[in-house]
C-alpha cells in the first residue's frame, strides 16, 4: 500500500502566493493524500479542471486509436476485393471504430469541456460531487482500456456497435470480444451516469448569485440537456447490456429465437438509448459553437432563448424517434408513419439553431480566427448532414438508403463535420484559458483546411456510393457491382480513401500545433482575454486558480463578462469599452471570499474505479477474480464513506484577504 502514503505537504501552485497546508489527522481509513505538484497529484485530484484536462487527454488518445481503425477500414476499401484485413478483422475494426469514437472520444471529450468549463461558466468553485467526478473519469479511462484489451485477448467485438441480436450470441460470436464490449460499456456507463447526476446538480444548484437559468451561457445549457439525455438513456442501455451478459455468460435466453425470443427487443432497447445518444454527441458541440460564433461576431447569440429551448426540444423529441433506425425492421405502417413524422419534426428545432447561428453572424463584425473557422465549418457541414437526414426521415426513401454508405455519409457529416468540428473549435477557443498559451493560428488554419478538405473528400463521395447501392459493413466491394462512368464506385471509393488520409494529416497538424505551441520558446503567454470573450469563464486567471474565483461574481446579464467590459455611451448610444479584462478581474479579486472550502484529494475514486475492470475480467475468465473485485469494491466504498470530503486543513484564505463575507462551496461526494 505504498501509494496510500501521504505525499509531501507543500502545495498550491494556484494563486500568486502559495498557501501553506499543514498535514492533518487521518480521518478515513488511511491518511488522505495532500496536495503536491508531482504527477501523483493527478491520480488523487478531485479538481474539476484537472479532471477535465485528463478527460481531454484520454479522449484524444482514443480519438487516435479510433482514427487508425478508420484508416485501416478505408485502406481495405480503396480497391475491389481488399486484402488488407480479413473479414474477421474488418468486422472487429468497424465495430471498435464506432464504439471508440462514440463512447471513448466524442462523449468523454464533451465531458472534458463540460467538466472544465461548466463550473467556471456558472461561477462555481467546483462541481457538486468532486470525488464522484474523479471516480467517473477513472471509470471512463479504465473502462476504455478494458474494452481495448480485448484486441490482445482473442479478438475485439465483431457485431457492429449496434450489436444486433441474435448475431451477438455466443453461437454466432464465440470470441470474448462482445463480453469485453458489454462489460466495458457498463463501466464507462457508470462514468456517464455519475457524470450526468453530478453536472445536473452542479448546474441546477451551484450557480453564482444572479445566474438565472436564462442567463446561463448556452454551452452550459446544452450540457444540461445532454446530461438529462444521458441520465435517462444510460439505464436503458444498461438493461440491454445486462440482458446480453446474462445471455452470453449465464445461458439466459433473452435473444434466443428457438426459445421464442424476439430479436427486435434488443433493437428497441438499443435505439431508445441510441438515438438520444446521437444528441448526446452533438449538443455539446452546438453549445461550443454557440459560444464561439457570438464572440467572433461581437454580437450576442441571436435568439438566445430560442436556441436554449430548441436544444431542450431536441432533447425531448429525441426520445420519440428511435424507431427511425428500424424502418426496414418490419414495423407496421402506423409505427413507421409516427416515427417518420416525429423525425421530420425534430428537423425544425435543429434548423432553428442553424438559422440562429447565421443570424448571429448577420450584421456582426466577424473575425475569422481558427475557432471561428471550425464553428462555421460545423454550421455548413452540419447543414449537409441535416438535410441528408431529412431525406431518410422519409421512411420509404430510407428503405432504399438505410444500411448503405449514404447513411455513413449522413452521420459522419453530422458527427465529424458537426460534433468533432465543434470540439476542435473548443480546443482552439479555450486553449489559452486552460494552458496559458494560444495555439498557433497559421498551423491552426492548416489544421482547419486540411480537415475540411479531408472530411468532405472522405464522406462526400459516400453519398454517391450509398445512392449507387453500396451497403455498409462490407469487408469487400466487387467490381461486378461498381458500375461505370461518373458514378463508378471504384473511383469514389478511391477518392474517399485518399480523403481519409488527408483528414488524418489535418488532425496531425493539430498535434503538431500543440507540440509547437508548448515547446517553442517563441510562443508568448497569451493575454488574459485573447478573444474579447463574453462569458464568466474568462473572468478568471489563465489557467484559473484552484478555487476558480477569489470572489464569486454576482451576475446581472447574459454575457456578464462582456457587459462588465463594454457599456453604451449615453450620448452616442455606441458601445464603448469601459474596462479591460485585467481591470474586471482585479476588481473582482479585490474583495476575495474568506474560508473557501475546497474538496480534498482522495485515493478512493481511482481505487474504486480500478476494482471494476477486475470484476469485468473475472466475469469473463474466472469467478474467483470477480470475488476479489467485489471485495475491492466493498472495501473502497467503506473507505470512501468513512472519509469526509473536506479535511479541515483545506480551509483556504486567499492571500489578499481584506474581510468580506464567507462564501462556501458545498463540498460533498
Amino acid at each position: 500500500m505504498a501509494i496510500i502514503e501521504r505525499p509531501s505537504t507543500e502545495v498550491a501552485p494556484s494563486g500568486a502566493s502559495p498557501a501553506v497546508v499543514v498535514p492533518s489527522e487521518a480521518l478515513g481509513v488511511f491518511k488522505r493524500p495532500a496536495a503536491s505538484t508531482s504527477w501523483r497529484d493527478w491520480l488523487v485530484t478531485v479538481d474539476h479542471k484537472k479532471l477535465g484536462i485528463m478527460y481531454g487527454v484520454a479522449a484524444f488518445f482514443f480519438f487516435i486509436v479510433g482514427g487508425v481503425e478508420a484508416l485501416l477500414i478505408r485502406l481495405q476499401l480503396i480497391g475491389p476485393d481488399g486484402k488488407v484485413l480479413s473479414a474477421d478483422q474488418y468486422n472487429q475494426m468497424f465495430t471498435m471504430h464506432a464504439t471508440t469514437m462514440v463512447f471513448l472520444f466524442v462523449m468523454p471529450m464533451a465531458a472534458a469541456f463540460a467538466n472544465y468549463f461548466v463550473p467556471l461558466q456558472i461561477g462555481a468553485r467546483d462541481v457538486a460531487f468532486p470525488r464522484i467526478n474523479a471516480f467517473g473519469f477513472w471509470c471512463f479511462l479504465f473502462g476504455g482500456i478494458f474494452l481495448n484489451t480485448s484486441w490482445f485477448l482473442g479478438g475485439a467485438a465483431d457485431g457492429g456497435w449496434f450489436m444486433y441480436a441474435p448475431n451477438s450470441s455466443t453461437l454466432f460470436s464465440p470470441s470474448h470480444g462482445i463480453d469485453f464490449w458489454g462489460l466495458g460499456l457498463q463501466i464507462t456507463g457508470i462514468a456517464s451516469l455519475t457524470g450526468a447526476i453530478n453536472l445536473i446538480v452542479t448546474i441546477l444548484n451551484m450557480r453564482a448569485p444572479g445566474m438565472k437559468l436564462m442567463r446561463m451561457p448556452i454551452f452550459t445549457w446544452m450540457v444540461l440537456v445532454t446530461q438529462f439525455l444521458l441520465l435517462f438513456a444510460i439505464p436503458v442501455i444498461t438493461v440491454a447490456l445486462f440482458l446480453l451478459m446474462f445471455q452470453r455468460s449465464f445461458d439466459a435466453t433473452f435473444f434466443d429465437v428457438a426459445s421464442g425470443a424476439d430479436p427486435l427487443l434488443w433493437q428497441h432497447l438499443f435505439w431508445i438509448f441510441g438515438h438520444p445518444e446521437v444528441y448526446i454527441l452533438i449538443l455539446p458541440s452546438f453549445g461550443i459553437v454557440s459560444e464561439v460564433i457570438p464572440v467572433f461576431s461581437k454580437k450576442p447569440l441571436f435568439g438566445y432563448p430560442i436556441v436554449a429551448m430548441s436544444g431542450a426540444a431536441i432533447g425531448f423529441v429525441g426520445w420519440g424517434v428511435w424507431a427511425h433506425h428500424m424502418f426496414a425492421s418490419g414495423l407496421g405502417p402506423v409505427s413507421v408513419t409516427v416515427f417518420s413524422l416525429a423525425t421530420m419534426a425534430i428537423a425544425v428545432p435543429t434548423g432553428v439553431k442553424i438559422v440562429n447561428w447565421v443570424m448571429t453572424m448577420w450584421g456582426g463584425k466577424l473575425v475569422f480566427t481558427v475557432p471561428m473557422l471550425f464553428a462555421i465549418g460545423l454550421v455548413v457541414q452540419f447543414t449537409i448532414g441535416g438535410l441528408s437526414g431529412v431525406t431518410h426521415a422519409v421512411a420509404p426513401s430510407d428503405t432504399q438508403q438505410t444500411d448503405t454508405y449514404y447513411i455513413v455519409a449522413h452521420f459522419h457529416y453530422v458527427l465529424f463535420g458537426g460534433a468533432i468540428f465543434g470540439l476542435f473549435s473548443g480546443f482552439y477557443y479555450w486553449w489559452p484559458k486552460m494552458f496559458r498559451k494560444q495555439l498557433n493560428e497559421n498551423l491552426g488554419r492548416w489544421n482547419f483546411w486540411l480537415m475540411v478538405i479531408g472530411m468532405n473528400m472522405t464522406f462526400g463521395p459516400m453519398h454517391i456510393l450509398g445512392l449507387q447501392g453500396q451497403p455498409r459493413r462490407m469487408q469487400v466491394w466487387t467490381e461486378a457491382r461498381a458500375g461505370e462512368g461518373f458514378f463508378d464506385l471504384g473511383f469514389w471509393n478511391r477518392i474517399s480513401s485518399i480523403g481519409s488520409f488527408i483528414l488524418s494529416i489535418g488532425v496531425l497538424m493539430f498535434i503538431i500545433n500543440v507540440v509547437y505551441t508548448h515547446k517553442s520558446k517563441k510562443v508568448a503567454i497569451a493575454p488574459l482575454d485573447p478573444w474579447d470573450a463574453r462569458t464568466l469563464e474568462w473572468m478568471t486567471d489563465n489557467p484559473p486558480k484552484e478555487h476558480n474565483f477569489d470572489s464569486v461574481p454576482t451576475v446581472n446579464h447574459l454575457d456578464e463578462f462582456f457587459h462588465r467590459k463594454y457599456a453604451e455611451d449615453s450620448t452616442t448610444h455606441e458601445l464603448k469599452q469601459v474596462a479591460s479584462a485585467e481591470q474586471v478581474l482585479s476588481e473582482l479579486n479585490a474583495h476575495p471570499d474568506e474560508h473557501i472550502h475546497m474538496p480534498s484529494r482522495s485515493y478512493w475514486p481511482i481505487l474504486l474505479a480500478l476494482a471494476l475492470p477486475v470484476i469485468g475480467y473475472g466475469l469473463i475468465y474466472n469467478m474467483m477474480i470477480t470475488a476479489v473485485g467485489v471485495a475491492l469494491v466493498l472495501f473502497t466504498m467503506f473507505g470512501w464513506a468513512m472519509e469526509p470530503s473536506t479535511s479541515p486543513d483545506d480551509d483556504f484564505d486567499p492571500p489578499a484577504s481584506e474581510g468580506g463575507h464567507t462564501k462556501e462551496l458545498a463540498p460533498l461526494g
Binding site: L171, A328, I354, P396, Q468, M474
Partner: protein, 405 residues
C-alpha cells in the same frame, strides 16, 4: 447591380448542383443504383424521394449562400461594434414556420406512400424467402396463392436468384434461419429485414425482363459482404417455361461419362447437405439431404437446377464467364428471357471460380468452417467446409453440375 450579379451566380450554382443530382439518377451500369426504378414499388419510392432531394438541395444552397454572403459582407473591416441585439421574434417565428411548412409538404406524401407500399391485398403470387449465413433460399409453395395459375404444381426450391414473372404483384414472406438479414433489390423495392422467428412481408414487382442485383443489407457476420442476390424478371411465357424446367424430373447422367463419375462424387461428398431432387442411391432409394445435422442454419442450397441460375455461393460469383455474363446481363428485354433460359453451357461456364470454390470454399468466402473450432456450435458448420477433393473429383463434379439445368 453587384447584388444582382451575385444572385445570378447563386442561381447558376443551384443549377449546377441540380444537374449533379439529376445525373445521379441517370447513371448507367450501376446494378444497385437506387435511382433507377424498374418496378412500380421502387417507382413510388423514387417519385417520393426525388422532389425531396431537390427541395433539400435548394434549402442547402440557400443556407450556403447565406453563410457565404454573411462571411463576405460582415467580415471585420474596422466597423464599429455592432448593436447588441438579442433577436427579432417576428423573424425567428417566420424562419421557424418556413421549415415547418416545408416538412408538412414532405410529410403528407410520405404518409401516403408508406401506407401504399404496405398494401398486400392485391397479391398475385407468394414466395417464401429465407435468409441464412450467407445465402438466400427461395421457396415457391405449391399451395400458395395462385400457385396453380403459375403452374407450380410442386414446391420449387432455389437459391441465389429469385425468378419472378413480369408485371406480377409478388409478395415475399421473409424470414431467417439464424441471424437477421435484409432483402434488398434496389431497382424493385426498398429493403426489409428478414428476422428469425418473424415473417415480414415485402412486395416485389418488375415491369421489364432482366436481372436486378441486390445485397444483404443487415450486418450478418463474417461473410456479410458475400451475401448477394439477384431477382430475375421474366416475361410470362418465359416464366412458364422456367417453371416447367424446374419441375422436370431428374435425368441421371449417361453411364460411363465423366458426369456419371461426378454423380457418385456428389452423392458421397455433397448430398448430405445439398439436395438434388430425384437423385437416387444405387438401390433406387431417393436421397434426401439432411443439412440440419451439419449446418447451424440447418439448410444448404438446393442444387437441382444449379445451372439455370447464373451465379453461385450466395450470388457472390458468376457461373457465366465474363463475356457470356455481359451478353446475358446487358441484353435488351426482348432477348433476355431466351438467353437466361438457355442456362450455363460448357463454353460459357466460369470454370475458374467454380473450381476454386470446390477446391477450398472457405478460402474464397470467409466462413466458420474450421472443423477444429466448432465447439460453440456442437460441431455444426456455418458455411461450406473445405472438402479436400482431388482434381479428378473436381473435374467429375463440374461435369455433373453442368448437367443440372
Amino acid at each position: 447591380m453587384r447584388t444582382m450579379r451575385r444572385r445570378s451566380i447563386a442561381a447558376k450554382a443551384a443549377l449546377v448542383a441540380g444537374i449533379g443530382v439529376f445525373l445521379g439518377g441517370c447513371a448507367k451500369d450501376a446494378p444497385q443504383d437506387t435511382w433507377q426504378p424498374a418496378g412500380p414499388n421502387a417507382e413510388k419510392i423514387d417519385n417520393l424521394q426525388r422532389p425531396i432531394f431537390y427541395v433539400a438541395g435548394v434549402v442547402g444552397v440557400i443556407v450556403f449562400a447565406a453563410v457565404a454572403w454573411v462571411i463576405y459582407r460582415y467580415r471585420d473591416r474596422g466597423q464599429a461594434i455592432p448593436e447588441q441585439t438579442h433577436g427579432k421574434p417576428a423573424l425567428e417565428i417566420t424562419l421557424t414556420v418556413i421549415p415547418v411548412l416545408i416538412l408538412i409538404g414532405v410529410g403528407v406524401p410520405t404518409v401516403g406512400t408508406i401506407f401504399d407500399l404496405a398494401k398486400t391485398d392485391d397479391t398475385e403470387m407468394v414466395i417464401n424467402v429465407t435468409g441464412q449465413q450467407w445465402w438466400w433460399e427461395y421457396d415457391y409453395p405449391a399451395n400458395g396463392a395462385n400457385a396453380e395459375q403459375f403452374g407450380i404444381e410442386e414446391p420449387i426450391v432455389t437459391s441465389g436468384q429469385l425468378v419472378i414473372p413480369e408485371d406480377t404483384k409478388v409478395l415475399l414472406r421473409l424470414t431467417s434461419r439464424d441471424v437477421i438479414h435484409s432483402f434488398w433489390i434496389p431497382k424493385l423495392n426498398g429493403k426489409k429485414d428478414s428476422v428469425p422467428g418473424r415473417v415480414h412481408l415485402l412486395r416485389l414487382e418488375g415491369s421489364e425482363p432482366g436481372i436486378y442485383a441486390g445485397q444483404c443489407t443487415e450486418f450478418c457476420g463474417l461473410s456479410h459482404a458475400y451475401m448477394r442476390m439477384e431477382t430475375v424478371v421474366l416475361s410470362r411465357p418465359d416464366y412458364d417455361a422456367w417453371v416447367a424446367n424446374q419441375l422436370e424430373a431428374y435425368t441421371p447422367p449417361e453411364e460411363g461419362t465423366l458426369a456419371a463419375e461426378g454423380e457418385s462424387v456428389f452423392i458421397q461428398q455433397c448430398s448430405r447437405c445439398h439436395q438434388v431432387n430425384g437423385l437416387q442411391n444405387d438401390d433406387g432409394s431417393l436421397i434426401v439431404s439432411a443439412p440440419e445435422q451439419y449446418m447451424v442454419a440447418g439448410a444448404a442450397p438446393n442444387l437441382t437446377n444449379l445451372m439455370t441460375r447464373n451465379t453461385f455461393a450466395g450470388a457472390s460469383w458468376d457461373l457465366l464467364r465474363p463475356g457470356c455474363r455481359d451478353d446475358v446481363w446487358n441484353s435488351n428485354s426482348e432477348e433476355f428471357g431466351a438467353k437466361y433460359l438457355a442456362g450455363i453451357s460448357e463454353d460459357c461456364l466460369n470454370q475458374k471460380d467454380l473450381r476454386e470454390w470446390l477446391r477450398n470454399a472457405p478460402e474464397k468466402k470467409p466462413m466458420y468452417a474450421d472443423p477444429t473450432q466448432l465447439a460453440a456450435t456442437d460441431g455444426k458448420y456455418r458455411g461450406m467446409p473445405a472438402l479436400g477433393l482431388t482434381e479428378d473429383q473436381i473435374n467429375a463434379l463440374v461435369a455433373y453440375l453442368l448437367e443440372r439445368k
